[in-house]
Amino acid sequence: MKIGYRLMPAPGIDFNKPVQFSFNGKRYQGYQGDTLASALLANGVKVIARSSKFHRPRGIFAAGAEEANAIVRVENGAKLEVNVRATQLEIYEGLIASSQNCWPSVNFDIGVINDGLANFLPAGFYYKTFIWPNWHWYEHIIRRAAGLGRAGDRSDEDFYVKRNIHCDVLIIGGGAAGIAAALTAAHSGAKLILIDEQSALGGSLLWETGRINAGMPMHWVERSLKQLSSMDNVTLLPRTIAQGYYEHNYVVAQQQLVDSSLNSGSDSMPRQRLWKIRAGEVILATGAIERPLVFPNNDRPGIMLASAARVYLNRYGVEPGPRVVLFTNNDSAYYTALDLHKSGRHVVTIIDVREAPDASVVQKAIYKGMDVRHGCVVSNTKGRTGIRSVQVTRLRQGSQCLSEKDTQTIECDLLCMSGGWNPAVHLFSQAGGSLQFDDEMLCFVPAQCHQRVRVAGSANGRFLLHECLKDGYEQGIAAAQAAGFSPDSGLTQAVIEQVTQTPVCAYWQTPTIDTDETEHRQWVDFLHDVTVADIALAARENFRSVEHLKRYTTVGMGLDQGKTSNVNALAIMGELSDRTVTEVGTTKFRPPYQPVTIGVLAGDRVAVLSHRYRRLPVGWHSENNAVFEDHSGWLRPAYYPRQDELMGAAIRREVSAARNGVALFDSSSLGKIEVRGPDAAEFLNRLYINNVKTLQPGRVRYGMMLNENGTIMDDGVFACLADEHYLVMTSSAGTQLITAWMEEWLQCEWPDMEVVIVPVTAQWATLTVSGPKARELLTGLGMNIDLSQSAFPHMSLQCSELDGIPVRLFRVSFTGELSYEVNIPCSYADSLWRLLLEQGQPYDVTAIGMEALDILRIEKAYLEVGVDTDADTSPLDVGWRAAIDRKTDDFIGRRSLQRQHDQRSDRLQLVGLKPLDKLSHIPVGSHVLDKGNDAVFGHVTSSCLSPTLNESLAMAMIAGGATRKGETVQVDIDGKLLPAHITELGFYDSKGERFNG
């Protein structure tokens, strides 16, 4: 039965389930099983999109992933998805799709003006044209005109999942070869996964009309799938695209989870799943992609791949026509012709480039009475929004030109073309496999690969059905054996009728009849509007390498990555430069095979899970209005505003508390590493620039570690807890780095040293009590430690207990005030914090955050590694020359400091900086200019407005700064120059009387 363009029944369509959808605002009806492309064709919609450069009207040209014309946008708002191929989108109730890259509408698009200007828009035109006065003048216009769909601006509401899986045999592609391979491999007992990108397994058998076991191919597919799905060792994954093939047989695939009857993901159902598959053996049964032929105006709506027409006819019951012309250089278009003829009512003409094909299918077409014209080509087409006629011209023996005299016009509604087949070698190439050009079949076929991979069926150049199945069975057996299984050789193999064929004939482009090239443009890459003339231009300009050809003309780039255009482009380039395709070579395929959703790559690592913070053990902060900020992966209180207090006021109050009373600061994120063993002192002595071996138990020293290049990695204090037992404190950012650094030296360079390294950052919390009243506060705590200056001087430590809980008390200072760092097991940190606040009430103890601490340390001009220093800063640049000279032993990085460059006096050196106008703030990052000239010779690394000194302070790295103290320089603040003095490092209490008090 036939209604409109529909032919019922059709194997891929459930005509009992109509589906309503809209395209460009108009409502249409399709059926369950339809793709957007098949549904639109069935509704007679011809123009689907506009091409990217010339805005030419374009229709549906393929039936799968290779579609380069019918690219649409789907849904709106948070569900918006752009650049979706209509050939791959299963329709669902309420689907909203529309054309993109056109305005105001797909049928009347202003951008088509580019088409008329085509003579002025050849390949690379913007490289040549938009260079005066400079590219940036034009950039925003070009950028807006470039590309296809506009991405949405809302976040994706759907969610995505990932799964890791291992298998013995992975088969990619569920067509004839893939299913045959799965049957033999699965019967061996190997754990097998079969994936296929389509909603139904079967590949070309979903529409193939040849016979398997004297029955319809679909019957064989159904029986085979029934058998496979009943086996426990088999996983079948339809709607799953293998996107990347990486080292060691690691394949990443993207599965569409939502059934097409649903819109997209729901609250409980993820939209897509990313499969990360580690396979013992891989069989690529990815099939082949038909090539278009290259002839004038071959891009019109209604021009389609011959195989695609067959897919729409046989699988979806969509009958195009009724007047069909086929243009081919090989046998496969004849199968389309026969199927069209069989469905009735069709007037079919076959234009074959070949002079005398005699394959069985050709004879059959002639026998059926079709108009078959050998040695002819299509020399032009007519019909702007849908093909109306073709010009057929007879090829003259030995002549390079076509003649008007040999030309005839045939009216038609559909032009099917077949330029031969390309095996889908993308994944094989991604796996590292090499390709070779087969001069018989005129395509690249897989050659060598070091991975455990096999290629079966038409992906391997076995295009005929009987070859395909045989290859599948054999590769399945081979893969199972390689994976260590014994295949069951008793499996009954399907029987296929063998056919004879006539080889494909090389026909890469069409000679033009007259000289108006614009009217005779021959498209090679539909997606990017690359024509033969563009390739010819590239050849004239000597872009000989395929990689250059690709980038200059954009052939094979973008969404489809040249699935239909690459080989044609290479062959044309070869003809133009007198080289074979093998000599021209091919570009390497890279993942992903098709465009991939960013969401599925992110999986659940979105929103709060995209970056997981480390949190301090003290819960009090969040209960007491702390404002948290990310500091090297830790969420730390920046300040604690009281009621309506503004940030600046809170920070000044906190600084004042530390300077005048007592402050409490949570330093728990400080890195803590215990280093123990007979060689601990010697080990640390090799890493620190300081002398470690002279450090007595109970004493603490400030030190730095360098990398072997002599630049500062990290700083912090280290303490000798007891003989052979040290505690290394690192910066909050440095804890993992330094632990790994120590382990690497110990394991790789000095394995004989008896040292054990234990990172204890997460075990010990550090609460800092700092300020003139710190001693009084701690005295009342009951730690049984004599806190007097003589018994417990600066840079020393005591171990004790507090209510039976071990406590390590360090007297060190990062604020410049009398300071104690109380280390206590983490689980008690919150209790101790609250206890200190309670005990400190009489002294108005104040919790302070990172902002106040930063000001306190800048007032003291204490450097912060990674802020004041960078990857080029050595200890000599920050005033540590004397300390290094005092040490006689070697340490990591020492030798590098002796190099001429490291000893230069004009290196960037850390200095203080004070503006002449005392209250002018100096932003971090400002350039420092030499007085009187514009040369930049330094930059500001830290700065603050000091509440204590009531003036602006800064630290800066300045060329030769150490010898330039007192000089006046200019600081460039957004173009305004601010004069400032270079000063000593140390603004407040530079003699250190306060922390020694």
Binding site: H248, Y250, R278, G432, H450, A740, E743, E744, Q747, R894
Partner: protein, 91 residues
Amino acid sequence: MMQINCPCCGKRDETEFIWGGEANLVRPLKPDSLSDNEWGNYLYIRKNPKGLHHERWCHMYGCGQWFNLVRDTVSHEIRAVYPIGGSVQES
């Protein structure tokens, strides 16, 4: 993504490991006695073969142990895994 056979933990995905560059470099015992050139060679000059490369890796997000392996830089095939300071035959 490669799969690396950690001597302690067995086969694990590459993402659990960190790469440590060329294996079997020895830090000079007396750096002070080296010329700038010799020191520069130790610091910077590395093999970059097309083919077999001895390199060290650490199972950072597993057991934390360093070890050496031999990797084919063309195919990423791992030919052998052996301990630090050991030789290929011991693996």
